[in-house]
Symmetry: C2
Subunit: 358 residues, 2 copies
């Protein structure tokens, strides 16, 4: 870290180790953005209030042990705007997103629930289309929707529709994934191009004078996870799906939880051309943009090559890449080696540049 | 049925047997009210689209068999208005309501998830209070909240906050509950006074020039269910929690699903004085008003007395009562014996007299 002052690093590190406290007087969009403010809300309010072992890990899903049957349980709300966009729609996100939370926890998705909050006056064909999209996504992923609920609120009390899905998965006994298992020397991989989903949403909103051929990457990553488990087993340390807050936020979470340094090779991160161009024009770093069909994988160095090969051999993982490594220092931080040979700190997302992205 | 024309009965019955079709062009409040319109949406749109065995039963929760471990899985959205009211709040409903969906399915509630959709600008103290209420309700019921999600939408895009909770429970092997098992001769019991919750909400809205001492009945019914299973085991036919649509809708569902007649003794149904008074003034039948801590239980006649005693001996079940019986005719219908010796048909809820009740 030649270009970083030791004092700055030490200050950031002290800050990181402070216990999160939720002191805000009002809820802002940033509380739902998945970055620092969301973390403060979760660690400062929800975690202490709901304290229990399963919640303590604050992972993508909770681990359950039911009379020896190992399960994972997850929930996610979807409020994306617009409801449909190139490459996907809210219904597909609601299916694939919750499947992915289970998948990256090493759990084979078993079934889903769906709860609708619908605005009075919604065109019934919009609901029909979303239900059809959910059914198709569930069918494709082989994960049935087994129970649900519907609430309707008055005109103006929601934005068309919100969908909240929960899922139950069966944990694969060959892996025991956790950020805490990450060790210096581990390889960091991504399953494909980043920032497709968030960029597609930004463009679909039509608020930008920009037209580019960008589609959401929404899909189930379970097939890739299964390939990885087959190839690497217990050498898999942790997997995460970089949705809100993007790859930057996930890498920061891992660095923080494992108390290690993460060094990212910026040039190695795959980004589709139109996505890169749109992000450059908008002044947004693709590292912070949401994905809905990608994974970050940390694996022991000795299984790094096998992991990469397994991902690349699975549909949807063709463009998987080794993008970084874990090292001892600086603890809890992510450093980026830039294309020009420099190094900079990549922090968590702060604020919410892209509200209602999923 | 001396005072019912055979022709009318036959017509209603034919109507009942028609396959539900969802033909509406727009979503109305009635689609979320839990009555006929909701049923048409579920049976005409969701069920065919998401077709699978677990969903096919369309019960309060889905049955899962994970390598021999029998589980139930349920989800419910809460959009009650106002967020807090005498006797409870949205956070308590979100915990107890989903616990109850599992409990009436004969499953011991194991854990919950919670997903928040919060409006930008919400006073953070309102969120703190709801989180504290959820934590207290979860603690009281002994059911931890193990995972969650938070989304924030712009001002005006939700009404303060909505909470969606899901739950996993472990099915008690001593019972196999289903409407289809209901038989002529069975006893129908209620676990206590009806219509408290819905009446409390109506009064709390302050839109009515009426002041009465009415509190929501929100609570976990699992202790009562456990007592019932201990006392009656396999003699328990089916249990339901009469939330949206009230007791009338639940009894109609049972009559319809089991293809039996239900005869209800109106005088035997316990209703608190202030609730009865408020409903009379408002011209609302308490049978259609939502409950959040009550159960309807159908049990074989030979275990009727044991079931009643078990409920009355459990906290929250002191005012349990035998309120009706099952008979062969008229198939799929609910008849009410009135206090004046007459008989009338009690149909499902139509429309939505009380939107945003839970």
């Amino acid at each position: 870290m030649p270009d970083l002052e030791e004092e700055v690093l030490a200050r950031i590190e002290r800050q990181r180790k402070l216990k999160a406290r939720f002191r805000d007087t009002h809820i802002t969009m940033a509380h739902g953005a998945g970055g620092k403010t969301t973390h403060t809300l979760i660690e400062g309010l929800f975690a202490p209030a709901f304290a229990n072992d399963a919640l303590g890990e604050l992972a993508d899903s909770a681990k359950l042990d039911v009379n020896g049957t190992l399960l994972n349980f997850s929930t996610d709300g979807y409020v994306v705007k617009p409801l449909s966009f190139p490459g996907g729609c809210i219904g597909e996100l609601a299916v694939n997103g919750t499947i992915n939370d289970l998948a990256v926890s090493g759990a084979r998705p078993l079934c889903l629930s769906t709860a609708f909050v619908i605005e009075e006056g919604l065109d019934a064909d919009i609901l029909r289309d979303q239900v059809a999209a959910m059914a198709a996504a569930a069918q494709k992923a082989g994960v049935p929707i087994v129970t649900g609920d519907t609430k309707v609120v008055e005109r103006g009390k929601c934005d068309g529709m919100y969908i909240i899905s929960s899922g139950v998965g069966v944990r694969d006994p060959r892996v025991d994934l956790s950020s805490a298992s990450v060790k210096p020397g581990d390889h960091i991989l991504v399953s494909g191009t980043i920032a497709d989903h968030g960029t597609a949403i930004m463009l679909a909103r039509g608020e930008l004078e920009l037209d580019a051929d960008v589609e959401s990457d929404t899909m189930s990553v379970w097939p890739i996870v299964e390939s990885l488990i087959d190839a690497c087993g217990a050498d898999l340390r942790v997997m995460r799906d970089p949705t809100r807050g993007g790859v930057a936020t996930v890498l920061n979470e891992i660095a923080h939880d494992a108390n290690v340094g993460v060094v990212l090779d910026e040039e190695a991160v795959p980004v589709n051309g139109p996505v890169r161009g749109a992000c450059e024009i908008l002044g947004i770093d693709p590292m912070y943009v949401a994905n809905e069909g990608k994974m970050i994988v940390v694996v022991a160095a000795e299984s790094g090559a096998a992991a990469l090969a397994a991902m690349q051999a699975t549909p949807g993982g063709e463009r998987a890449a080794l993008i970084g490594k874990v090292q001892e220092q600086p603890e809890g931080m992510v450093l980026v080696k830039t294309a020009f040979g420099g190094t900079r700190i990549m922090d968590m997302l702060i604020g919410d540049p892209l509200p209602r992205i999923c």
